[in-house]
Amino acid sequence: MAIVAPPSKFGKVGRPVLAWAVGLMFFFPIFWMILTSFKTDADAVKPEFLFVFKPTLENYLNMTENYDYWRFAKNSVITAVAATLFTLFIGIPCAYAMAFNPSRATKDVLMWMLSTKMLPAAAVLYPMTFLTKSLGLFDTHFLVILVLSLINLPIVVWMLFTYFKEIPKDIIEAGQMDGVNTWGEFKEILVPLAWGGIVSTALLCFIFCWNEAYWTVRLTTTDAATLSKLIEGNRAPEGLFFGRLSAVSAAAVGPIIILGWFCQKQLVQGLTFGAVK
């Protein structure tokens, strides 16, 4: 029988109050950004309009005019979706083979994949610029998709591997007994069983692609520039455009924050490579 300690006074009132205060404090900057996005640029810097002001949608309605928002958003969507699909396309077979036909080298290969993730991007900045410019790939969607895929491939393989490992091997073997070939085994058994894991891996990969801010900034100028590049290019508005800058920032992070709420749990597994459960 579990012994339940009598709730102390702190536990009854203090803990919820303190927890709510901490939660609100952490959310405050985001709240502030959203609040500011509904103020005109002039109102945004006036102390008398801190909390009470006449809300306006003009910052959102003028996003195209002010920042060409949709062009950058389109690039972000295209590159993040394509990179996620490509990474899964390469990563699923790899993780499948590792989980169900492990060889002695599997562990080392997984470790090595992880180690590529630890290579500081800046160390290869110039070679990447040089290579992509001489191959004519600089500032193309193809390049951004490729780079985003490569930097996320290790995490995707790891996450999928930890999901696939949970599937009992007996099920696969029973399928083999019944004469199902590899493709059928994959399509009929693995994918339905690991569907949840594949979806959350894809969501997390998409979030990482969307938020990437080194290569997308350094290897693009206009054609393939993503939202990271857009925001980075408007870093110092000298206080003139707080309203419109807040609106475009909120539009850049809003969808991802909501998506993130759905995969909190997978985040732990994905970022710690299954080492914390």
């Binding site: 012994i3 300690a5 803990r15 919820p16 709510w20 901490v22 952490f26 959310f27 900057p29 985001i30 502030w32 810097v45 102390p47 790899c94 499948y96 083979a97 169900f100 036909n101 997984l110 470790m111 994949m113 180690s115 993730k117 630890m118 290579l119 800046a122 160390a123 290869v124 900045l125 110039y126 070679p127 290579l131 895929s149 490569l150 491939l153 290790p154 801010a213 080194y214 900034v217 939202l227 990271s228 925001i231 870093r235 110092a236 508005p237 206080g239 707080f242 800058l245 807040s246 920032s249 850049a252 992070v253 924050i257 709420w261 909190q264 732990v268 970022l271 710690t272 299954g274 914390v276």
Partner: protein, 312 residues
């Protein structure tokens, strides 16, 4: 087809792509770090093309190591990373313990808490340095101005006026300045990554042995000794993982540094590499190799930790 062939075939695209991605650019960096290679030179145009005849040996490394910026960048990289780690781990443990019990609205608090982690780095930096930390128009400036106004109005009040007239006028801190820009970066990254630490510590706390805790309570263990002798040892491994994953991410901070002050007084290694790469590719590459070495020292520990649990 033998039993081994198909699995190899399935793994090969991923392995080959990563192999090329790792070896080709890194090999080029290594090569460039041993030659004289600049993008513009009127005096020595032969140095503007990468070529073995411009071999410099360890000259670029010596050049980098003798530059003041390099040592400052290493020191600053470590300062930023260590400060963020310290803050996120302490805050992470405290908050994880705080919300590890059921209370009304716990789900909403969790959602509020985790949100900063999904904000893209560029937005994080732009939001903090402008809307929040700007010394005149941000909340920072507005708050200080508000306090000054309040003090000024109290100075003419009866009785307490004399006391308040002794107060100085407060100056808001500018976080774009040479001395303070590192603190701005530390603040915004801590805000973003504390949720990550909370999430991991919370996941780990849920697997804590409750019976052991109950036994400790029966034996009269206080809250502090429960924490010190049960919870903290249980969190040892997650703490190590949080520290190492964050170390790897924060050693390559870039967007925040660029946006806050364009590296003014606050260069880290990636930023310094970016600056060298504007012209002196040899030096940029040598600095890059140093960055790789630094990251590897951290990574070796992480790989050891993760490797242990891999095949469980």
């Amino acid at each position: 087809m033998s039993k081994r062939t198909l699995p190899r075939l399935l793994q090969s695209p991923a392995v080959l792509l990563l192999l090329v991605w790792m070896l080709v650019p890194l090999g080029m960096t290594l090569y460039f770090s041993f030659i004289r290679y600049v993008l513009n030179s009127l005096r020595r145009p032969e140095w503007t093309k990468p070529s073995l005849s411009n071999w410099r040996g360890f000259g670029n490394y010596e050049f980098v190591m003798s530059s003041k910026d390099f040592w400052f960048a290493i020191q600053n990289s470590l300062f930023i990373v260590c400060s963020i780690l310290f803050a996120t781990v302490i805050l992470g443990i405290l908050i994880a313990i705080l919300i590890n019990r059921v209370f009304p609205g716990r789900g909403i608090v969790r959602v509020l808490l985790i949100s900063p982690f999904f904000v893209m780095p560029a937005v994080n930096a732009v939001l903090w340095i402008n809307m929040i930390l700007d010394p005149v128009l941000g909340l920072n400036g507005l708050a200080v101005a508000g306090i000054n106004d309040l003090v000024a109005s109290l100075q003419s009040a009866p009785l307490v006026g004399g006391f308040f007239s002794l107060w100085p006028e407060f100056e808001p801190i500018s976080f774009r300045a040479t001395q303070t820009s590192a603190y701005a970066v530390i603040m915004m990254v801590t805000w973003q990554w504390t949720p990550f630490a909370v999430l991991i510590f919370m996941t780990s706390l849920q697997s804590e042995d409750q019976q052991q805790k109950e036994a400790a309570v029966l034996d009269g263990a206080g809250v502090w000794s429960q924490f010190r002798f049960l919870t903290l040892p249980h969190l040892g491994r997650p703490i190590a993982i949080v520290v190492m994953i964050q170390a790897i991410f924060h050693l390559s901070l870039y967007a925040e540094i660029e946006i806050v002050s364009r590296g003014n007084g606050n260069k880290n290694l990636p930023y310094l590499i970016g600056e060298f790469a504007n012209n002196n590719i040899g030096a940029a590459s040598a600095t890059g190799i140093f960055a790789v070495i630094l990251a590897n020292i951290v990574a070796i520990f992480l790989l050891r930790m993760v490797g242990k649990t891999l095949m469980e």
